[in-house]
Symmetry: C2
Subunit: 297 residues, 2 copies
Amino acid sequence: MKKISGTHISNTIIEELRLEVLALKEKNIIPTLAVVLVGDDPASKIYVNNKKKACAKIGIKSEEIILSADISQQELLNVIDKLNNDISVHGILCQLPLPSHINEKIIVERIDPNKDIDGIHPLNLGRLCMGNAGTPGTPIQSFFYPCTPLGVLEILKRSNIKIAGSHIVVVGRGPTIGRPLSIMLSLKGMDATVTICHSKSANIKEITKMADILIAAIGVPKFITRDFVKEGAVVIDVGINRSSDNRSNDKIVGDVDYDDVYEKVSAITPVPGGVGPMTVAMLMYNTVRACEKKFPL
Amino acid sequence: MKKISGTHISNTIIEELRLEVLALKEKNIIPTLAVVLVGDDPASKIYVNNKKKACAKIGIKSEEIILSADISQQELLNVIDKLNNDISVHGILCQLPLPSHINEKIIVERIDPNKDIDGIHPLNLGRLCMGNAGTPGTPIQSFFYPCTPLGVLEILKRSNIKIAGSHIVVVGRGPTIGRPLSIMLSLKGMDATVTICHSKSANIKEITKMADILIAAIGVPKFITRDFVKEGAVVIDVGINRSSDNRSNDKIVGDVDYDDVYEKVSAITPVPGGVGPMTVAMLMYNTVRACEKKFPL
């Protein structure tokens, strides 16, 4: 099928995880995710809610820690420390962005790397760089992969899209998506040839038109049109842009002009319903892994 | 000049550092590098000796800790801990490879990231991924860049080769050179479009022929011949391969067939005398930085 449903794949993963968690519970192990939410950013609230819902479906216990927007950095560090030391908590998610008086890097580095189910601690990114892990998506990992890149990888694998030997072009070099994804895809065992380009790249169309698999993570609505795409390419749209009409029911727009490229590609993820739901699924996946590492089946 | 002399550039850097160290010494600050050598691998001994010589030229105090090949992992960890806690030691270099009964990853992760002047601790690699640093080569860095990639960057900058907007192809994805270099070159402020290819890449010549700057770090003698290179490209050869004739005076051969590509390129680094001497110079650079971070000028 040309249109790849991330919703469908994420539901499959959630069902797989539900069965895993059932088996864990028979051993009296309850995977537990602590979600820290600072302030009342509406988008953050929605994200946190989606994560709670996914936890409920799978049987992961979610503990929500809601903190006032004026909490001091030290107080937040104390909250993180407490969760780090709580052996009943397997994963810690601190919803970003944080209020501007708090240094996000300091908070992220404080999370125990073994509980960093978001896969954003620099120690986990560094291990990713060194490639000293199992293959992404396998049960045994020596660290956590960041959720959205891992979701993209799962989409490709579960859609039987060939990664090894393919030329993959990643448009976007952000530290949460483009950067780690470009690394993961070229690791040993993945074996893609990977080009990373970005807002400062020259001749960007020339580059993207070489891609067997084109991944858009540049954060510009409908940036990728048909003239960026090789005939028969696979296109993965990681963009989540809110449309400019400022109503409460914001429309989500991807980085790819879906209708414009559709006829030219061999497969494509839509927005919404593509990579978006995968991010939450892989967060759940990492949480179950974090739990199993401590209580091997 | 078409042939880029890494020897010349590294001598310039060493002279710059000598003057910096003179100024530090006037404040009674003596930059100190601890070099740990386990066993008696002849190549490792040569490397350590070169590093000691560079220290002597610059005025960096080098402390050599020579350990027997049968030292236990725990004993080596104790040595590292002692150096971590010694405030007179600014940089720690543990010469790799280590004997096979010792897990290198565990040793490397034990080195205090603030003394990791080799830039190989995963926390430093992770920070590099996140791009949360000053620009490489500037005095203020929030972490250390690995020495050989930093040396390549210095060669490009001091030879006035344009990085921003260029398409740079890195052949090789190893965790010490190809991988971090590909990341550094595409960071904000560097702004190259970067392709990483490797032994499993298909159509590798097609890819390398697009490169404005081609960097060879694949570890195969004379792998890059003229048919891999675009007319007028810049070629940086990071290969250090020992020739197969097993005499004590091994000949060093690069990853590039220098004579074959010479007429076609606009600039090229030789082997030896190219990237090799830069690695030691940048190790010295990182050591002085490590010292200054603690004792700001």
